[in-house]
Every structure is written in structure tokens, then in C-alpha cells.
């Protein structure tokens, strides 16, 4: 691969580009799912290809192909150069890249047991058993389980002299069930919904998730939800569970602090951001206990790596410090706009896409409360658990989330459960109402494998460090049910 990468760099220089890079990416995915104790699907996919990115006349051109040989590389370098020249016809603001040290490196993400070395028989036996363990009641009409495994080898080389090879092993798993009775349908999932939880890890992550323990619990809760009352509308104190809090961070902090959105680069699809440049060091994003970081240095987290897709080293930087907005997620192109150098957030999905500013691990740093203490301080509120729905406006201000289950808290004690819980708010007001964050004993990284952004839409794997957090005076029970 390195020889082909060097060949591409030579071609880029011959083509007259002022900068160029190539990424060669080889990816293997296995996705398995079972339903009601039967193997529903088990698919393998393999891909290999390259993407070349060049700057000519101060503008970008990019071309990619799954046909990896010198002839195709030479052809696509020429194509990328031609595309860049056409871009330059309508690009008066010439691209300037922030500086980066050239580096030669090889890296393998942490794992103990390669999931691709586990026999098919063992994977299937576990998958089927986790599905069956949820079938504890005749009202459970669907009991799902799923595993996902990925091996990805990325080779990056640039005309500035970097040559980086990174290998990632990633594992995810989930269980989830539906209960049905009298026209009512209730869902519960573990450890999270929509594919579950993911990590830079091997088969040991499936073992750690301990599905045997949680399968009977979620099926029991799904049945209980069938007769639970609808959550009423009101304004209440809200404690948000860890996996839902991860998504709250994702939507209301992660996306708005991507500097490319702020600069309008994503306005045509995903939207812009309320965190405009004038807000830097001025906006009160949250209460003084709110501290949020972009941290790619936790290598076991799904958003962890050694170098981003521009060869910038993984970093940890504050986005919000003591409630004040202090930083963006940046790239080599966007960082100079605010007089900075890239903090290493530029990544692409596979070989065929251009790199974009993408979340790494966006984390709400832990506080000092225990969960019991957080609950004991609530007179009238709810604890919401596991996401079911999400939506936010195109500047990332007005959000609305739905969860699978709400547990009432009255006079400091947990009480009955409610179904179809929803809550809504405005991002900085909501984070400003945060008055307690659970301690590091409750803190962990949650992997989100399907963050969509860009055109053509790319899917990024990101993560969020989160524990429990408490918010005051939140609107809950939205809509007419």
C-alpha cells in the first residue's frame, strides 16, 4: 500500500498541485442479527479503494475509486486536478492549510480478542441465546439481538511527507424487545437503542456488556410499560441517563461546535450553527459545572485514533470550560479562519469520501454527585432512560428527544414508570439549567456508529463520555397523544 501511496504523491506533484494526499482504506464488516431466537441475517462486506485530494489554484478537487492500481491512480489524480481547476473558477478565497508536522507512524487500536477470529458457531450461539433470553412473557412479540464487527486499515500519505498506517478493530452489540397487548406496543433496549453501544475493542466488549444479565430485565420493563400511563405535559426536573445524555451531547454540543458548520460549509444539508464566531469566549453555553471536551486520545472510545485523516495528531481540547464556550472542532482548512491550527477532527467515511470536520469523543466531564444523591435532591421530576427519538433545528438550538422509559421521582424517591416520555428545550438554556453531574464512577464512553453528515452523506463513528446529569425546569410530555 505504501508503494502505491508514494506513486500517487509523485503523480500529484507532476500534476501541479500545491498540496495533495491519498488515503487507501481496506474495510471488513460483519453484521449479525437474530430475532426471536432465529438467525435473521449475517452479512460480510469487504471494500478496498483510494481517494485522492488535491489543491490546485487554491481550490479542492477529489476523486476516488475501488480499483486500486497505478493506472487508475494516475487517471484519478489527473481527474482530481481537473476538478480543482473547475472549482477555482468560483472560489475567490484561496485555501490555506494550518501547519502540521510530517510524521511516519503505524498504529493499532486496542483490543484483546479479534472478533474475526471467533468462530461463526460461537458468535451465532451467543447471538441466539441473547435473543431467547428476552422471551420471558408471551406479550414479548419481538426479541432482537445484534453484533457488529469492523476491521479497517487506513494508509494516509501527503505531499508534505507524512505516511501513516492505522488499523482499527471495532465491536458493537445490542439487545432489544417489543411487548404488545391491546393495541399498545412498548420497546426496551440495552445498552442503547439503534444498534447498541460500540467501542474500539474486540470480542471482549461483547463479554463485558453482560447481555445475560440485562435481557430478562428489559423484557420485564417492556411488559410493564404496556400498562404504564402516558407521561403528562409539564415542566419538571429531569435526570437524564447516560446513553441518552450521550445523544444530547452529540446533537446540542457536538454538531454546533463543528467549525465547518459555523462557516456555512454544511448549510445546504445539515445546517449551520448558533455558535457563531462572535460567541467564542463570550457565550455562556452551560452552568458553571458544565465542562465539555473534544478528546480523540482515549483510544478505546469509538472516536479515538492516533491521527486524523489529514495526519494531525489526536488531541484533547475544551469546547466548554466552566460553562463558557471556548473552542471549536477544527480542520487544517477551517482552523486558520479563527487564527488557530487544527485540533485534529477531520475524518472521512471509507476510501470514497472527502474528509469533513467530524466529532471525535465529545464528552461531558464527570461531576461530584452519586446517582442516589441526584435522585434524593429531586422533589418532583423524572429519570429518562434510553433514546427512542431525536430532532433538532438547523442551527442546533431547539431540540426534542423521546426516550423508552421515564421513572417518576417524588420527594427524593423513585416511583412509577411512564411510557412515551419526551422532552424539549433550547440548547444553551438547557445546559444552563444543569445543576448536577454524576461522578466518574458512573462515567463511561458511549459509541455512536452512525453519525450522518455531508454530501454524499457520510457515516462517522464517534463517541461521548457521559454519566448521569440533572436539569431543572425542563418541558416534558410534548405533543398530543
Amino acid at each position: 500500500m505504501k508503494d502505491l501511496a508514494r506513486f500517487a504523491l509523485d503523480e500529484i506533484e507532476v500534476g501541479g498541485a500545491s498540496y495533495g494526499d491519498i488515503r487507501i482504506v481496506q474495510r471488513t464488516d460483519q453484521n449479525m442479527s437474530a430475532k426471536n431466537g432465529i438467525l435473521e441475517s449475517n452479512s460480510y462486506s469487504e471494500s478496498l479503494g483510494f481517494g485522492v485530494r488535491v489543491i490546485v489554484d487554491g481550490a479542492w478537487g477529489f476523486a476516488s475509486s475501488g480499483e486500486l492500481n497505478k493506472e487508475k491512480i494516475s487517471q484519478l489524480v489527473k481527474k482530481a486536478v481537473g476538478i480543482a481547476r473547475d472549482s477555482a473558477r468560483y472560489n475567490s478565497e484561496k485555501i490555506k492549510l494550518s501547519a502540521v508536522e510530517k510524521v511516519e507512524s503505524e498504529y493499532i487500536s486496542p483490543y484483546l480478542i479479534d472478533p474475526f477470529e471467533i468462530s461463526e458457531e460461537e458468535k451465532i450461539e451467543k447471538l441466539l441465546s441473547y435473543s431467547k433470553l428476552q422471551m420471558t412473557d408471551k406479550r414479548i412479540i419481538i426479541a432482537n439481538s445484534s453484533f457488529s464487527f469492523r476491521r479497517e486499515v487506513k494508509t494516509f500519505a501527503s505531499t508534505e511527507g507524512s505516511m501513516i498506517k492505522q488499523t482499527f478493530i471495532q465491536t458493537g452489540g445490542a439487545i432489544g424487545c417489543f411487548a404488545f397487548e391491546n393495541g399498545e406496543l412498548a420497546a426496551r433496549s440495552y445498552p442503547a437503542s439503534f444498534g447498541g453501544d460500540f467501542r474500539n475493542a474486540g470480542w471482549e466488549f461483547i463479554q463485558e456488556l453482560d447481555f445475560e444479565k440485562h435481557a430478562p430485565r428489559i423484557s420485564e420493563e417492556a411488559v410493564l410499560l404496556l400498562s404504564a400511563p402516558q407521561l403528562p405535559h409539564g415542566r419538571k426536573t429531569l435526570i437524564i441517563g447516560e446513553s441518552q445524555l450521550a445523544l444530547q451531547i452529540h446533537e446540542s454540543v457536538g454538531h454546533p461546535t463543528e467549525l465547518d458548520r459555523v462557516l456555512g460549509y454544511e448549510r445546504s444539508l445539515a445546517g449551520a450553527s448558533f455558535v457563531t464566531l462572535d460567541k467564542l469566549y463570550h457565550l455562556k453555553y452551560g452552568s458553571p459545572i458544565v465542562n465539555l471536551t473534544a478528546d480523540a486520545t482515549v483510544h478505546s472510545a469509538l472516536g479515538g485514533f492516533q491521527y486524523d485523516d489529514e495526519g494531525v495528531p489526536a488531541q484533547s481540547s475544551y469546547l466548554v470550560k466552566d460553562g463558557l464556550f471556548v473552542g471549536y472542532q477544527t480542520s487544517r482548512e477551517t482552523a486558520p479562519v479563527i487564527g488557530q491550527v487544527s485540533n485534529g477532527c477531520m475524518r472521512a467515511d471509507g476510501f470514497s469520501n472527502i474528509p469533513l470536520v467530524r466529532m471525535t469523543s465529545i464528552n461531558l466531564l464527570p461531576g461530584t454527585h452519586s446517582l442516589d444523591q441526584m435522585i434524593s435532591e429531586v422533589d418532583d421530576g423524572y429519570l429518562f432512560d434510553v433514546n427512542r427519538s431525536w430532532s433538532i433545528d438547523d442551527k442546533r438550538l431547539n431540540f426534542q428527544f423521546g426516550c423508552e422509559l421515564a421513572r417518576e421521582i417524588k420527594n427524593g424517591k423513585p416511583g412509577k414508570i411512564f411510557r412515551n416520555p419526551t422532552y424539549t428545550g433550547i440548547s444553551p438554556e438547557f445546559w444552563g439549567s444543569c445543576d448536577a453531574i454524576a461522578s466518574k464512577e458512573h462515567y463511561r464512553f458511549w459509541g455512536i456508529p452512525n453519525c450522518g453528515k455531508g454530501e454524499p452523506v457520510q457515516t462517522a463513528r464517534v463517541s461521548h463520555g457521559a454519566s448521569f446529569a440533572r436539569f431543572r425546569d425542563v418541558e416534558v410530555g410534548v405533543g398530543k397523544w
Binding site: L39, E40, G61, E67, I83, R267, L397, G402, I426, E455
Partner: protein
């Protein structure tokens, strides 16, 4: 010929197989995209993609493998590995054998000039857009996507289905600061895009900016323009009309077929043959896509089935399978139009909102068709039959089925709205009394 190359790979893989059944999907595409922001081209790319998907069935054991590598040695390796894996799987007692299927020749919507176009043609069209907006000191944001795709499905019975398409998707957001409007056009031919004519209305709407601020939450009369109506109806299609969701009690109409579920003015079909749609006439099981009457005068009539879901429901496949997914779905939904123009809808509105499109819509509760999202790129206050100006964007949280009982009028023209999950949809504008807003935002 691209078709010959696709057939070669399909025949090769089927030739390797001793399975009871095997099928192959081979595709080649070239995807070109020019993005612009702040009236500058900032991203510009061309992607060549090759993909092959193989499914093998031995008795009640089955599995799928895919790859993008086109050399014969790799394909043989993929086949042999998949065969080994499938034979090690337990029997799937719910498996239903696939049909023999039929033969389908080229069903293309193809334009040679579009197929031959490149970054220069895209830059020229984007440049015209930028220059036109500049005349009124507006910035433009958007993208121009040109795609050509070639696809073949083949099975062990010797049946094949082939189609090739060109596809153009132009999206433009003109902006004066926070005040934005929207243009989204689709065609199979780049030459069909008349940017100067198309941009006239979105650019003129920028002058409507008068900041009518927040509009109150609660039920309002709305006129949903096609992009908004299409978003809502696309989610309804996904939530309700899959035979799998129907069988698994997850659909609103599970156990309600034949009953009145919306207003009597709603006629919703799946119709691959509709002149505005762009899909293939066959599914990956090589079954012809049947025209479905989903809602007929507000009554729930049919759902989409593949072989498996049809077997569970005790009926026949309607030709709505997806390759590798046990989830049949309508790919060519069409909402029938009405008898009034959009201008007449506006003139007949005493107090309401004209809505350009929605943003980040999502399902709140599938079974109940609860749906939420924000408005985007233009919410206009309509008073006494006239558009007064813009209001702040708003959040809605609605039950779609209940909302479809309150449709006061449908436009007498239909539009193809592409993009999004599972292809495009054909819809008119919709006037709805009692559309439930639950919040607002600051812009």
C-alpha cells in the same frame, strides 16, 4: 458495454455456486457532486463505485456477502467463504424460498449528455446560480449532484433484471443573513434544469422578510409546499406500509386494513409507472413491482410485501423486496393531487402559515405515527389570503394519521421530491387545518 461487464460478473458468481438458490446484484456508479457555500465552490468530487452482493441458500440456511473488488480471484474467494459460513449456520425455520422471478430488460431513464457531463458543466451551472443571486446581493449555498448508475440482478434460475439511470439533484439555499429560501430540483437530464427560471421565486421570496417573529404554538392552518408534504408522507410510508411492520404489529394499520384511517380525500399509492418516478419496475427477487393502493379515499387497503412477509400474511409478494433486508417497502409512493392551485390555497387562507420544508424530522412513536421536526428555509405568515412575510421557525409534533383527517385541500399539480431514505416521492402541496406546533426557535 457496461451491461456486458455486469452480466459477466453475475454469470461468473452464479456459475461458481452449487447452492439451492443464489442471486447476485452487481452495480457500477459514477457519482459527481459540486457543493457551494457562501457563493463559492468549496467541495467538488467524483466517485467511481463498483459493488457486488451475493446471497446463497442451502435448504433453510442462507447468508449474504458483499465486496467492491472486481477481480475474479477475489470474487471466487468471497463465494467460497460465504458457502462455508452458510453451511455452518443453523436452519432458519422462518425462511421462505425465493421465487424464480422474471426477466426485465433495460428500464432506464437515461440522458446521454448528462452521462457525459463533468466538473466543467457542473461549475458552469453553479456559476450561473452564484451570479444570479449576486444581482440581489444574496449568497447561495447548495449542491449539484450528477449520478449515473448501472445495475443488474440475476438469479440461479437464469432470470435477470437490468436498469441504468442518470440522475440530477440540484439544491440551492439563497440567503440574506438568517433569511433563507429554498430550491430543490430533480431530473434524469441536466438539460432539464432551467436555473434562471427556477431561481426566480426563491430569490424573490428573500424580499418578503419582515420578521413577524414567533407564531404561537398550538394547532394552526398550514400550507405545506411539496418538500414539506413529501417529508411527512415519506415517513408515513416508512412507518405504516411495510408488510413486515404490518405483520409485527408495529404499523398503525396492523389489524385495520379496510377501515377508514384518514380523511376521505386522501389517495396514496405506490406506482413505479407514474411518469414522475424514477425507480426500476422489478425488485431484487425479480418480481414485478405491483401498483399498490395504500390509502383509497382514506381507507387502508394494501401494504408492500416481499416473499417472506407475504407468506406470513397469507398473500402474494407485491414486488417490494429490498436486497439483503427483510423489510419490504414502497419505493415509489405517490400522493394524488386535488383541484386547486397553490395560489388558490393561499388566497383561501384567513390566518395561517406557508411552510417551505422541514428539518431533521423523525419518528417519535411509530405505532401511533407520532412525528416531529422543525420548519426550515422559509415560514411565511398568511393573513386574509396574502403572504405578509416570514415568521420564526417552529417545531411541530403531530400524529400523521390524525393530521391526514384534517386535509382541507390538495394542489392540482404533483412534484417529484427526491433524496432521503428509500428514494423519492410524488406529492402535491397540502393545506391542513389543525397542524400541531409545539415550540419555536430564535431564527
Amino acid at each position: 458495454m457496461v451491461r456486458d461487464r455486469l452480466e459477466h460478473f453475475a454469470d461468473l458468481l452464479i456459475g461458481y455456486s452449487d447452492a439451492d438458490y443464489c442471486r447476485v446484484n452487481v452495480s457500477i456508479s459514477e457519482n459527481s457532486l459540486t457543493r457551494f457555500a457562501n457563493s463559492q465552490i468549496h467541495q467538488n468530487l467524483e466517485q467511481e463505485q463498483f459493488g457486488i452482493v451475493l446471497e446463497l441458500v442451502y435448504g433453510k440456511k442462507h447468508g449474504i456477502s458483499s465486496m467492491n473488488i472486481s477481480d475474479e480471484e477475489a470474487l471466487k474467494r468471497m463465494h467460497d467463504r460465504l458457502k462455508t459460513f452458510v453451511l455452518s449456520y443453523p436452519d432458519d425455520d422462518t425462511f421462505v424460498p425465493y421465487p424464480e422471478g422474471g426477466n426485465f430488460s433495460n428500464s432506464s431513464k437515461w440522458d446521454d449528455a448528462t452521462g457525459e457531463s463533468g466538473s466543467s458543466e457542473r461549475a458552469a451551472l453553479v456559476g450561473t446560480t452564484i451570479n444570479e443571486a449576486k444581482k440581489i446581493d444574496a449568497l447561495v449555498f447548495g449542491s449539484l449532484n450528477v449520478k449515473k448508475s448501472f445495475n443488474i440482478v440475476a438469479n440461479k434460475y437464469g432470470n435477470k433484471g437490468y436498469n441504468q439511470n442518470t440522475y440530477v439533484d440540484l439544491q440551492v439555499i439563497p440567503a440574506h443573513g438568517d433569511n433563507t429560501t429554498y430550491l430543490h430540483q430533480f431530473s434524469h437530464a441536466l438539460g432539464d434544469i432551467n436555473i434562471l427560471d427556477s431561481l426566480a421565486e426563491p430569490l424573490s421570496r428573500l424580499s418578503l422578510y419582515k420578521d413577524h417573529g414567533e407564531f404561537p404554538s398550538g394547532e394552526q392552518t398550514v400550507i405545506l409546499e411539496p418538500n414539506a408534504a413529501g417529508d411527512m408522507m415519506r415517513f408515513l410510508n416508512y412507518m405504516v406500509f411495510s408488510g413486515k411492520a404490518y405483520n409485527e404489529k408495529q404499523s398503525y394499520i396492523s389489524d385495520k386494513l379496510g377501515t377508514q384511517v384518514t380523511g376521505s380525500n386522501i389517495f396514496f399509492y405506490d406506482d413505479q409507472a407514474h411518469p414522475l418516478t424514477m425507480g426500476a419496475p422489478f425488485d431484487p427477487e425479480l418480481t414485478e413491482r405491483k401498483k399498490l393502493s395504500l390509502l383509497e379515499g382514506g381507507k387502508a387497503i394494501e401494504v408492500a410485501h416481499d416473499t417472506k412477509s407475504a407468506s406470513i400474511a397469507g398473500t402474494a409478494s407485491t414486488g417490494h423486496a429490498l436486497f439483503g433486508h427483510s423489510m419490504p417497502i414502497c419505493l415509489n409512493p405517490v400522493l394524488q393531487g386535488g383541484d386547486v392551485s397553490r395560489d388558490e390555497m393561499i388566497k383561501g387562507t384567513e390566518n395561517g402559515l406557508l411552510i417551505t420544508r422541514f428539518n431533521y424530522t423523525n419518528i417519535v412513536n411509530r405505532k401511533k405515527t407520532m412525528f416531529t421536526g422543525m420548519t426550515r428555509n422559509g415560514v411565511y405568515r398568511v393573513k386574509d389570503g396574502k403572504i405578509l412575510g416570514t415568521a420564526n421557525n417552529m417545531r411541530f409534533t403531530i400524529n400523521i394519521m390524525e393530521t391526514l383527517k384534517k386535509v382541507a385541500a390538495l394542489e392540482n399539480k404533483q412534484y417529484f421530491i427526491g433524496g432521503g431514505w428509500f428514494g423519492g416521492i410524488v406529492v402535491p402541496s397540502m393545506k391542513i387545518d389543525g397542524f400541531n406546533f409545539t415550540g419555536t426557535t430564535a431564527f
